[in-house]
């Protein structure tokens, strides 16, 4: 079970090092501090809007989870800075990750 295998099933997880007790980002197989193999943590994570812009009708935002993990995600309604959001849809398409938040 890896971050990508879960993401390809539409499940958003956060990689974590059980040795350091820290989240690891971007997702990799090993911790970038202690080099131990990482695990993934499942959950109903809440993120925070850090910044956003808009292309055509869609907003694209930087969303931060657990004060460390940042992704660029699509949002259909106008975001606000510091707004709390959750992942509503995610996956892998054409070798690229995609994330929707609301």
């Amino acid at each position: 079970m890896s971050f990508e295998s879960e993401l390809s099933q539409g499940i958003f997880c956060i990689p974590k090092c059980n040795s350091c007790k820290e989240f690891v980002w971007p997702p990799t197989e090993f911790c970038d501090v202690c080099n131990e193999k990482i695990t993934i943590e499942k959950g109903d994570f809440e993120g925070k809007i850090i910044e956003f812009s808009k292309q055509n009708e869609d907003y694209f935002c930087i969303v931060e989870f657990e004060k460390k993990v940042r992704i660029m995600a699509k949002m259909l309604k106008k975001p606000n800075i510091d707004q709390t959001v959750k992942i509503t849809k995610c996956g892998i398409s054409d070798n690229s990750y995609f994330f929707y938040v609301n």
């Binding site: 971007p26 292309q55 694209f60 940042r70 992704i71 660029m72 398409s93 690229s96 995609f98 994330f99």
Partner: protein, 369 residues
């Protein structure tokens, strides 16, 4: 550390032409040798190629095309700052004594694969550079209460300055309103806010102190080098309103050169998008945070070419692997007082700022007479 100087250079016009990468690469090296017939090719012991192109073995290919059999020959890729990173590698070979004379050639085609960093999946589907540039623009405007019109001045200034550069891609000047009315790419970025990918090549020969003095009547020396990599992924950038890697690289380069930023008479900064120029000026220390657009406005109104005299990336075009080398050639020309219509007053110390992938890494060079 022994001194390393710039002995010769050659550059092609930046265009949208569809040429083989080998042809593009060869053309600036060939110009260099045509302009400097006294350079003995047998004395060149290193050939470095700066490119993001996927073609293989380009340094040996270039060596063969220009008739050199160097000890050292390899390519260097680091997205948009491949050019200055190649110059730093050449500097290192020479200052360590592994080589005495190194040819550094950068080339790119308009369709370079280096424009997208596929690895950075944290950007999700938003991998094109216009998305990080839009986020930078939005954040910078929000924090410092800057308008689209103020950012548009960067494009107006740099297209204007590019008209004095015969090699520049831009052949037109624009007004603030032209920039604002240009094609809207996102809410925070218009077409004329962007530098354009293009086809072009630039070459430089670096040499040891002894060889530089023998080959150049008006030598220019690389006196400061600073580099910093923060991350590869845009979303790990610690700031969306400043260039953290640039701050560190600039401090290192200035310290090595024993200069302060106030000593710098002319600079090429990496204006991949309009917002990058004020952010770079602030991060380099030319002005305080949030004051970059005021400095740019003053320079534009007084027709002062101190920043990006050749027209920057926005006016000149951005053939990734050639950009850092082209920026360096501009500063050499400025210090040698032969930049013609672009010449700035009393240019004794110059600076080059070249960054990659939303300033996740930066290289800063200080040059002087």
């Amino acid at each position: 550390m022994s001194k390393v100087g710039i002995v010769a250079y050659g550059i092609t016009p930046f265009t949208k032409e569809d040429q083989k990468i080998e042809t593009v690469l060869h053309s600036s090296a060939n110009k260099l040798f045509q302009k400097n017939p006294s350079i003995e090719k047998k004395d060149i012991d290193g050939v470095l190629v700066s490119t993001n192109n996927n073609s293989k073995y380009l340094a040996p290919v270039l060596s063969e095309m220009v008739g050199i059999q160097p000890k050292i020959a390899h390519s260097i890729e680091s997205l948009c700052n491949s050019g200055t990173n190649s110059l730093v590698s050449a500097f290192s070979y020479i200052s360590s004594g592994l080589a005495d004379m190194v040819l550094v050639s950068g080339a790119e085609r308009y369709d370079s694969p280096g424009q997208i960093l596929e690895w950075d999946n944290s950007r999700g589907e938003f991998k094109h550079p216009i998305f990080w540039a839009s986020i930078f623009s939005k954040s910078y405007k929000r924090k410092y209460e800057i308008t689209d019109e103020q950012l548009a001045t960067v494009s107006v200034k740099n297209h204007k300055q590019a008209q004095a550069n015969p090699n520049a891609l831009s052949k037109k000047t624009y007004s603030i309103q032209d920039v604002i009315n240009s094609k809207k790419l996102t809410d925070d970025l218009r077409l004329l806010d962007c530098s354009r990918p293009c086809t072009g090549s630039a070459s430089i020969i670096l040499a040891s102190e002894e060889i530089t003095k023998k080959n150049s009547e008006n030598p220019v020396w690389i006196s400061g080098i600073g580099q910093k990599t923060i991350s590869a992924g845009f979303t790990k950038n610690p700031s969306l309103t400043s260039m953290e890697s640039t701050k560190i690289a600039a401090q290192s380069a200035l310290k090595m050169s024993k200069h302060s930023i106030e000593d710098v008479d002319v600079a090429e900064v990496h204006d991949a998008f309009t917002v990058c120029e004020p952010m770079a000026l602030e991060s380099l220390g030319f002005t305080s945070p949030g004051k970059g657009t005021s400095m740019i406005d003053d320079l534009h109104k007084t027709n002062n070419f101190k920043i990006n005299p050749r027209g920057g990336l926005i006016g000149t075009g951005h053939p990734l692997g050639a950009t850092g080398i082209s920026q360096t050639i501009e500063i050499v020309q400025q210090l040698q007082n032969n930049a013609e219509k672009r010449q700035t007053d009393k240019a004794n110390v110059g600076l080059i700022h070249n960054m990659s992938a939303a300033s996740t890494s930066s290289t800063v060079l200080v040059l002087e007479k």
